[in-house]
Amino acid sequence: MIISQFIQYFISGITQGSIYALVALGFTIIYSVTGIINFAQGDFVMLGGMFTYMFLHTFKLPLPLACILSVASVTVCGLLLERLAINPSKKASTVSLIIITIGASMFIRGVAGELWGKDPLPLPPFSGETPIPVLGAVIQPQTVWVLAVTLIFMLLFQLLLSRTLLGKALRACALNRRAAGIIGINVRTMSLLSFAMAAALGAIGGIVIAPLTLTSYDVGVMLGLKGFVAAAMGGLSNQAGAVAGGFALGILEAFGAAYISSAYKDAIALLIFFVFLLLRAKDLASAEAER
């Protein structure tokens, strides 16, 4: 009985963790290419769920098509954010860039609240709701979707980075932007691409998780913060680390909520983050200074 409970918490942990991992991955892509932390990253996740809801219920499109259009729409939002807000202020300080993306996040949240209202919206599960029993615990079919989709896209992304010329160019920018520019890589295009990819990954996460958690205009802040926590624990420009950080955070949070206190669930994640920051403050400070 205890073991089945344990497994149940573990499953809900990796489910939530995979969304954190996708958000974290989005953070690392943009950060490694541009040195910017995009505070609107969590809002891309929210937009993914919202756009799908809109295409599905307002335009009555079939679910697969709604999902694809939603990812495309959020990607366009990412492109617009980079072109309209980030690109014109390339020389701005870190503080300024933080403020700009916070502004963007507020703006997106406001538009979403205006378009879709403040009530949490549901998406239908992709393949029914018959629970799958596993070792005395149960898995929702949607959980399988979340894990499968997350892993597939992470793998695809890894392949893109390691096996293609584009991936090489992105990695070059991550290593040294100026040098990448000198050898003829268009750094501005790479920056644009990094925002597009981060937006798309966020949207995908938002779409697969929405049937389990509902989607609402204001979920972005917490998701963004936790995604950042995951990314920071993994080292901010380390993709594999970010993904591992996401899963670790999801699992810690699930057990924290179960065994310590569910009211303080969000605080637990943040406290872990604090302890981590305090332990590593020195290294992190010098890493930022090099940027």
Partner: protein, 323 residues
Amino acid sequence: MKIGRLSLLKISAIAAGVTLLALIPWVFNPFYTTIAIIIGIHTIITVGLCLLMGYTGQVSLGQAAFYGIGAYISAILSLRAGLSPWLAMIIAAVTTGAFAYLIGRPILRLRGNYLAMATLGLGIITFIIFREADSFTGGLTGLSAVPYLSIAGFVFDTDRKYYYLVWVFTLLILIISQNIVNSRTGRALRAIRDSETAAESVGIDVPELKVRIFTLSAVYASIAGSLYVHYLTYVGPQPFDFLFSIRLLLMAVVGGLASIWGAIFGTAAISFLGDSLHGFGDLESIVFGFILMAIIIFMPQGLWVHFVAAYKERREKAGKMRQ
């Protein structure tokens, strides 16, 4: 400040400003007195944020936390322990300052993005504690019947009385802050903002000074929190959430991050804008988000500083033409 050095224009501007401030509760609709009280209280926090962000270059996205801690300590001590509200206010400021100093030491070793996220996290954690620690904070219901402030039997229980009290605090804090900025410490702060390495190399104790200014900004916020709670005589978690920290940031940005007196302008502008957008759903969030982006992109010194600079330029031009 030496009166002799101030130009006639400046003196008359200050006199006009003070007179206008003193007249507000008598000339305008009582509704504006209430708004002006809140503006005064929020200006105190905004100034602290300006010192920290604009002059020292350190980010804080969790300023609402200190505002809330000040408010709750003040409320709990005066309500439950029966302390005089003034004493409660002082203890709140000292405690909040000590807390900020202790937490600031490690946190301010972080820079840029990490510091932003750490302070954001701090704000969210304290908000969760305000909401969940029912036995201390009253949870979502909050604490009511917090006593008013009073001096020797004179109770600050009406908007008009409270208005003057708040603005005395606000102006004092603005003057103190302006003096800090103009002092040796102020120059050291700006040196840290421009380059920590350079500041360190000329003998500035960078970590200590950063923590001190962080502490000062927290004490300001705590005083504001106490003023707030003894005005409303009620405290609940809602005004201390993450969104309020961002709104404070917006106020500081609009007034100009590196402008002490701009803080009044920024706070007032955003308060009025917020009030007129109230009731239009999420329009507020859209407009505020847009303003935040637009100001940083197009006039990073802030709207107020931008206007003042434009005005000075025009006057100089006019002066040259007369010669």
